[in-house]
């Protein structure tokens, strides 16, 4: 048993009061509660998130924050279905880390809280490229804060270029320059079997987009409300990629797997990838550099990015916003820059020496943002992506002609948009 004397009680009370006032003086909040966060990615992203939570807990020591990670191993479709299910069963998280591919799907369903006021109050975001915030809007309101992004560049193996006696590509190279380089970098044995591919014609929607953008076109129209597959320029892009495979023999037919491992092993000279490949390239000691995608009519590339949003009706809004501020603040941006898993949203972080150390042309990542276009992500993105990739792989494999493939894809895409309009109307 403890015996508490009046004197001890007074001293203890005074000490507690003093501690509380010191806490307040340090900017600590007395508020208490719980915050649940669902982020995506791997170990590096979890470590960055835990660092942000630790910073948050210094200001909000009475909040318990839990974080779950979704590896997005089966694509954004499963993630969207999971999140919609969580809202339907009222078991949603307070904060979601997501990507541009899901923005309209979530915003159109009213799952996220508009956060324009919060963004206006936060001075850190003035350092972010305005284009990123523009893509976070749906019907005039902002629902997400960008954290990091990836734009597609042509990643090339410098050793293989040296071996083939090819000059490194310049930032303003053309489709013809690219095609000639891919041919020169393809190595075949006496019986015509390929031991080194010049290029990997991509198999994923995000990686393919620069080919359309650099020809001044796209799979969808400019406001992502209808198919654009009947634009002759789309067919021109597809024919160009088809010829790289079937006429030049510089690339295998895109299958279900990407060729990252073959690139890292020096069996493929060029691939379209974002900054996420850099940690693996470093581990493989590959002598690699990046260059913007080659251009036909215009210089362009595609950008996709991760962002953080607040669930509609989240409790403890002040603390939740403070948590989001940490998840998108300068310290987290610096962590992203150091881990190299993507390009940080903040320009200051993208200018850190750790970020610029590799590859040699690392500054190009941020410089190309000026002409990068967001990956088309309508509210029916999940369906659009599947339809396009299905016809794209069939066309690249020569299973359907490019003219027929474009026509059939166009019909299916427009059916999907009609269903979307009907459901939004409903």
């Amino acid at each position: 048993m403890f015996n508490i004397s009046r004197r001890n009680l007074l001293v203890s009370s005074a000490a507690l009061a003093a501690a509380a006032s010191v806490g307040r003086a340090l900017g600590q909040s007395d508020a208490s509660g719980t915050i649940r966060i669902l982020m995506n990615g791997g170990d590096a992203d979890l470590a960055n998130t835990n660092n942000a939570i630790a910073r948050f807990n210094k200001k909000y020591p009475n909040f318990q924050v839990s974080v779950d990670m979704d590896p997005i191993s089966t694509g954004w479709g499963d993630f969207v279905t999971k999140v919609i299910g969580q809202f339907a069963s009222s078991s949603q998280y307070d904060i979601y880390g997501t990507a541009i591919e899901t923005f309209q799907t979530f915003a159109a369903r009213g799952l996220m809280e508009p956060i324009d006021d919060f963004i206006a109050k936060n001075p850190n975001y003035s350092d972010f490229a305005p284009a990123l915030f523009e893509a976070c809007k749906y019907q005039g309101k902002t629902y997400f804060v960008p954290t990091s992004w990836n734009n597609i560049m042509v990643n090339y193996n410098r050793d293989l270029f040296d071996k083939a006696g090819q000059a490194y590509p310049k930032a303003d190279w053309s489709w013809d320059d690219f095609r000639a380089a891919a041919k020169a970098l393809t190595v075949k044995d006496g019986s015509g079997n390929v031991s080194q591919w010049g290029y990997e014609v991509p198999n994923q929607n995000f990686f393919i987009q620069p080919w359309f953008f650099t020809n001044g076109t796209g799979v969808l129209n400019d406001d992502w409300s209808a198919s654009n597959m009947l634009d002759p320029k789309v067919a021109e892009v597809l024919q160009f990629l088809y010829d790289i495979i079937h006429v030049d023999g510089s690339s295998p037919i895109p299958g279900s797997d990407t060729m990252d491992n073959q690139f890292l092993a020096g069996q493929v000279a060029m691939i379209n990838r974002g900054h996420w490949i850099i940690p693996n390239v470093r581990n493989a000691n590959l002598n690699m550099d990046v260059v913007p995608p080659p251009q036909k009519t215009t210089q362009a590339t595609v950008v996709g990015f991760g962002a953080v949003g607040i669930s509609k009706g989240a409790q403890n809004m002040e603390a939740v916003q403070a948590m989001v501020a940490e998840l998108t603040g300068p310290e987290l941006e610096a962590d992203v820059a150091k881990s190299g898993s993507s390009v940080p949203g903040s320009k200051a972080a993208a200018e850190l020496p750790e970020f610029l150390a590799f590859p040699p042309s690392a500054p190009l990542y941020y410089q190309t943002l000026d002409y990068a276009k967001a990956v088309p992500s309508p509210a029916n993105f999940l369906e659009v992506e599947k339809i396009f990739i299905r016809y794209y792989t069939a066309m690249m494999a020569g299973e359907v002609s490019i003219a027929d493939g474009c026509k059939q894809a166009d019909a299916e895409l427009n059916d999907s948009f009609a269903r979307l309009k009907a459901s939004l109307g409903a």
Partner: protein, 298 residues
């Protein structure tokens, strides 16, 4: 009268106990089998979106399925896979069982049985990943083809070879299971009849057709029905090897259902495809049961 009443009380008590004993199993069945099946049927007549609003659409989902030209292709892919995979699994399994159902040193017998059965216990996802590497343009199959001076085969990226490649892997993986079933059935063939046939000078192929096959025919039909139900639901091996491509050439009905429901969030439409698929499985199984009642030796 008293005896009758006591008997009636006993019967009631036994009945009550019976209900209590089956209740947990029935509860599990209702919760995890019957209720989801009923919900799927209900959803097949609806557009379902908890946020944007759900509403009844009548037969629209079924109309969409039966008028979509992709449905025919996907349905045909599934039947094609079923036909070849079932034929391959059952016939190769039977051949292996016949080959191993003979006198040989015990260790050799167990070695062969283990060797052929081993793929069955390996996860299909893992097997598919490994075979995916074998089937690559620069994979081991093409390596040996090239050594022989033959051209590279596009195992998984050509419409002509993708489905046969998947079937080949499926037979390699699953035929050991049927082999074990057939070995058990073959050991039930009465030795006396077989010995009598041998003494009569009946040639081996005739003994197989006239004695062995009729004797094990119920097991063969079980194997066909079991393999067909599994093949009609094929998912992971195709998904990992080709993701249904190129185009739609290897997409199965199960893949289509998952893609529509969880990839495109077309829950109602996916439910209607699931209902159609269930009906197809029921019809095919029913036809096989009918055939077995006519053909199986009594």
């Amino acid at each position: 009268m008293a005896t009758t009443a006591r008997h009636s009380d006993l019967a009631t008590s036994q009945m009550r106990t019976g209900y209590v004993l089956v209740f947990p199993a029935m509860l599990l069945y209702l919760t995890f089998v019957l209720a989801p099946a009923i919900v799927t049927v209900v959803l097949s007549f609806a557009y379902y979106d908890p946020q944007l609003g759900s509403h009844w659409v009548g037969l629209d989902n079924f109309k969409r399925f039966f008028t979509d030209r992709r449905s025919v292709q996907i349905f045909w892919n599934t039947l094609q896979f079923t036909l070849f995979a079932v034929t391959g699994n059952v016939s190769v399994g039977l051949l292996l069982a016949l080959a191993l159902n003979r006198s040989m040193p015990g260790w050799l017998l167990y070695f062969f049985r283990l060797a052929f059965f081993l793929p069955v216990i390996i996860a299909a996802a893992f097997v598919s990943i490994v075979w995916g590497y074998f089937y690559q343009d620069s994979g081991i199959f093409n390596y040996y083809l090239n050594l022989l001076g033959l051209p590279t085969v596009r195992w998984l990226t050509s419409a002509q070879t993708a489905m046969p490649s998947i079937v080949f892997m499926d037979v390699w993986k699953n035929t050991g299971f049927f082999m074990v079933i057939f070995i058990a059935a073959l050991q039930g063939v009465p030795k006396t009849i077989m010995e009598a046939a041998i003494m009569d000078g009946t040639p081996p192929w005739r003994r197989f057709w006239r004695i062995t096959l009729p004797w094990i025919s119920p097991v063969v039909f079980f194997a066909v029905v079991y393999a067909s139900i599994g093949a009609l639901q094929v998912y992971e091996s195709i998904w990992i090897l080709t993701k249904g491509g190129p185009g739609d050439t290897t997409r199965s009905m199960s893949i289509n259902i998952v893609e529509e429901a969880f990839g495109s969030f077309q829950i109602g439409y996916a439910a209607s495809v699931a209902v159609v698929m269930t009906v197809v499985i029921l019809i095919i199984t029913g036809m096989q049961m009918l055939a077995s009642s006519w053909l199986v030796s009594k």
